[in-house]
Every structure is written in structure tokens, then in C-alpha cells.
Amino acid sequence: MFKLPAVTEPTHDPYDADRPLRLGCACGQGHDAPAACAAPGVALAAPDDERAAREYVEAALVKALFPSDAVRRRFLRAVGSGTARAAIASVLPVTALQAMAQEKRPPEKRELKLGFIAITCASPLIMADPLGFYKREGLDVSLMKTAGWALIRDKMINREHDASHFLSPMPLAMSMGLGSNQVPMRVASIQNTNGQAITLHVKHKDRRDPKTWKGFRFAVPFEYSMHNFLLRYYLAEHGVNPDTEVQIRVTPPPEMVANLRAGNIDGFLGPDPFNQRAVFDEVGFIHILSKEIWDGHPCCAFGLSEDFIRQNPNTYAALFRAVLTASNMASQPRDRELIARVISPAQYLNQPETVVTQVLTGKFADGLGGVKTVPDRANFDPVPWQSMAVWMLTQMKRWGYVKGDVDYRRIAEQVFLLTDAKKHMAEVGIRPPEGAYRKFRVMGREFDPAKPDEYLKGFSLHRMA
């Protein structure tokens, strides 16, 4: 990030054919970039800040295109400044670069509505409100509790919510036009990793082998969810065909425990706190934690529409910083009890605090009479690895949600905003990791993001044509 040039008069107009374009600093010491300026008092009046920054970026770009000022002037005289402006804007991401240069500028939109589902996955998004992280970034955020994932999708498409808690495969599906109109959605950061579980009805205490589960009815929160993909994966690895031998139905997470109690379903792979709530209410037990399927798997995401990012780059950056600050705090075990306390009340999760504490601290009753300690039962690593997106796409293809060839990398890189995440992580003081395509193992099977189609060929159970 560079400091802004301290200029007053008609600043750097790169499209003026009659003036030389000099990117010198107003301190008059002749160095090139104002970032190098050490002169005191070279600060800009606030109202002009934004315009000046915009112009400076543009001027720098034009300067880079035409290192010789004489050539630039000749070019402008020949085509006219309007044409030149349009031509340059069409080849260079001027707007995006200007936005990047305007870091920590006042947000375009202060009052924001964020949608969330009342589950612990949304911890960072929720806790940022009572802990004041949004306010610190100058945002006035209203968290809107939403009744189900379909509604989360519709309210984002209708622009009732500015940004939202998502299941991480949802923005992929929405951007591809699966299960809705095609709307470009983006994953800014992952909300949480691990933190899910397979919960079974207490009457199945003695049927722990998945091979005996034929005919079971399971609930997952949404079709395009990690829950659906992980449950299918788990069943298939144990030789149970998830499409023909069991029933998988979509149920909003809050209604899972009520359905389990009523015997409508035999179990669910669902988000916490509802696994722990089923144990607390003595209707279910935790069969396995989702980390036993894939340790470090992503679950929910924090996402926005591409339009919103483009129209409100500063708001986007501010929101991003607030959520990352919260993620960073949530990922450290020492504050988990405090987090449980601030997110349990009625306006957020509306759950008994002890249930949420058990989920977040990883010291929990398993429903079978034992107390387990798994500190990373739930974690909050925010990095939106693009390899995770590729894995989700392979599973969408595996189970027939998407047909034909999939351009894995292009979609993953378009939707999972890893570069932005790394940049903002550095801003809030988290060390961003290297690379974009981390490898990982799912139930012992290695996933190489460079060879998704070969990975898919390794499965015997699938619904691919």
C-alpha cells in the first residue's frame, strides 16, 4: 500500500494531451513514487482522498503503458482522450486496482444485512457482532436469522441480504446455475472447518457398522452441502449406495432434532450444535465426528455476490477484515468458552450455553455414556483453498448434480477468492499460507487437485454417465 500523492491542482490527468504526465511527489524532492516521500505534512485533505487515489492509480497505469511522454501525447491527440480512456479501461482492470489502492477507505455502504443460519458454523460471522468487530470497521451490521438454506439462496439473489453465511458448495452451485438462476456468488472466506457429525437415533446404539444401515433415512441440510457430500462419501466407502440403499432427505438443521425425536429419520449428518443437542435431549448419539471422515474439511463459507463486491469494494474489504478478525479469534482454543457465551442467547443461536460450549471446546458427552475430549472437533480456519472447491466439484459430478465436463480450475479460481483472503489476512495480522491447491486425504484416500478426473475414476459407486 502506498501513501497518496499530496497534490492539489488538477492532479495527474493522464488523458490530457497538453500537459506532461509527471508522477512526482508534491513535496518537490523529485523522487518517483509518493510512497517514498518522507516529507512531513504531506497529507491530503480527506474529501479529495478518494478521487486523488483513483486518478493516481490510473495515471500510473498510463505511465506504464507509455513510458515516453511524447508518445503518450501523440497517441492522445490522434485518438482523443475519451477513446483512449475506454481503450485502456478495456484491457486493464482499472477499477479493481483503484479499489485495491483505496484500502481502509470509508465503506460505500455502512448499513448491511447479513443472513445466517443458527448453527455454530456461523460463529465468526455471529460473534463479530457482539464483540464489536463490525463496528470497529465502521459497519452497522444487522444479522438476520434465516429459516433454511433455500431461503439464504433466495434472499441473496433478491438482494435482501448484502452478504451471507453459505454452505461452501452453494456459491459454486449458484455461480454454475445449479438449483437456481445463474448468479455469480463468491466465497470470501471459509467460516469453519470440521464441526459436523453423524448423529444416529439412540435406538441404533448397537448398529455402528454402516454396512447394516440399508433402509435408513438420513437428513442433510441441503443438496449442495459438504454434509451431503461427506455422508455420501462415507456411505459409499462402506459399500452402501447413497442413492438406492438409503434415503437422504433435505431438512433445515434446526428441525433435525425434532425429526429425530419423532422417528422421522434414523440419523443425520448435520451441523452443530444440533448433534450435541440431540445428545443433550437424549434422542441421539454421536456416531462419528466429521473430522474422522476428512480432518480439516471446510463446511460453511462467508460469501457475497460479485456485483456487491464490484459496487462496494471498500465495504467488502471492511467486512472481510471483520470476519477474518473473528475467524482468527475463534481458531484459538483459549477463547472458545467466551465465544460460546456470546453466541448462545436467543437473538443468535438460541441454545443452552452448555451445548454450545461442548461443541466449541471439544469436551463433550457422546450420548453413549462417555465423555470425549477432541479439541479440534470444531475449528475456524478461514483459508478458502481452491483445492477444496475442486473436491466439491468432483463430488457434484460424482453424484450427478452436474453433467458433462467441468472446468474445475476455472470455476474454483473464480468463486474461491483466495488472493483477496490472503491479502486481508495479512492486513489483520494473520500469516497467510503459501500456495492455492493444498492436497488432503479423505478417509485415507489422497486427493490430488491437479488430477480431478483421475480421482473420480477411482470410485466404484457413483452416478456418472
Binding site: 444487522s142 436469522k145 431461503l151 433466495d154 436467543a346 443468535y348 438460541n350 443452552p352 458427552a365 462417555g370
Partner: protein
Amino acid sequence: MPASQNLRAALLSVLLLSVLLLTWQIATDLPSGEAGGAPAAMTPEQLEYAKLMGKDPGAQKPSGFPTPAQMAETVVKHLSDPFYDNGPNDKGIAIQLAHSLARVALGFLCACALAIPLGFAIGMSPLLYKALDPFIQVLKPISPLAWMPLALYTIKDSTASGVFVIFICSVWPMLINTAFGVASVRREWLNVAATLEVRPLRRAFRVILPAAAPTILTGMRISMGIAWLVIVAAEMLVGGTGIGYFVWNEWNNLSLTNVIFAIVVIGVVGMLLDLMFARLQRWVTYVE
């Protein structure tokens, strides 16, 4: 004689209520015996497990069917602070009710604005009646929730969708009743009006409207009942605010006490709305 019958009816109501409460008390009292018995012989692990399960002495589990005493406590708690506002997802019961009532009123007024003039037209013209009848018959029995996805998709606003669903469900009884009332105004009265050369507009307002008013109000009363049924379902689906959202939110928390409280509130408000229309109805009824 009728006075003493009223008294006896009231006594019977009170008796029924106390039998209900007593059965409730007995039914919910039973399991409490097992909870107190165990702690003496528990190992530390068992104790910790019990604590994580929310069973340590003194702590009360929020779920399970409440006793009448717990119920009363909840009722008092809600009614003593009906206007609190803890952000967009946690508001007092009066605020929730106000949101629901406002939605119902808006949807209902829209329905009135369409159904009564249209019903008039249909009632006066047998041709129109026959032409529109198939549409009305098909659209009338559609469940409010079936409209919701369509409304959300086209209107692109969840609050407006809720109002739309109330509108679309409460419009039919009013339309049909208005048409029926207008069509069955007695021939003689219309003939008298014709003999006196009353202008059409004057005839509509001075002869037909008063004659059809009781039937129209019956339609409105049925519609209001339906609107109040629909709002709870719609708010459970769309969320945000309102008494339906309150029920849904407490269902998530598996808090039966609050759900029962909401059920009672919904019932009482529904009854009051119905009483209001019953009053109006009595006001326009005439004796031939």
C-alpha cells in the same frame, strides 16, 4: 332462564379447564421421580457426563413437556416485558404480534380492495360469473405455502411475499360471498328501484350494498380467519419477525413452553379478530 343457563355454561367451562390443567399436572409430574434418585452412587466420570447432559442438581433442562407451573412462569415472563427488542432476531411478544397483525391487515385490505368491487361486478353479471368461475374454483383450494416459492421468486422480497400470500388466500371467500350476496338480492327490490328510475350507481349503493352487506361481511369474516391461519405458516417459512417466526425460533430451541405460549396467543388473537367481525356483522344485519 337464559341468565341461569349462561351461569351454568360458564361453570362448565371452568370445570373443563380445571380438569384439563389437572390432567396436565398429573401427566407432567410423573417423570420427575427418577431424576432425583441417582447421584449417590456415581463415579466422577458419570457425574461429569450427567453434568454435560444438563442433569446436575439445580440446573433445569429447558426441553421436555412443561408443568403448568413452568408454563405460568413463562406466560408471566413474556407478558411482563412484551416490548423488549434485542436486535433483529429477538423481540418481545407484543412487537412480534404487531408485525404479524400489520402484515395481515395489509394483505387483507388489498384483498378487500380487489374482492369487493370484483365480487359486485361478478354478482351483477351472470356472464362474468360463468366466465370467471373456473379460475376461482381452481385457485381457491391452493395452500398458502404452495404460493410461497413462486412469490419469493417473482416479487423478490420476503416481506412482500408474506403479504401477497395472505392476499391470495383471503381473496376467494370474500369474492365468492360478495358475488353470491349481490346476485341474490331480492328481485322485488330491484324492480322497485327500476320503477322509480334509480340511477345504476345509486342503485348499487343504496339498494344492493345494504342488502348484500351481511353476506359480504360473512365472507370478510371467513377471510380474516384464513389470513390469520396463513400468517403463522408464512412467517415460519420466511422468518424474520412475527408470531410465526417466534414459534419457529422456539421450535429450533425445542422449547415447548414457549411454543405452547405462542399457540395460546395465536388462539386468543384469532378469537378477538373474529369477535370484531361478528360485531360488524350484527351492525349491518337487517330483519326482513
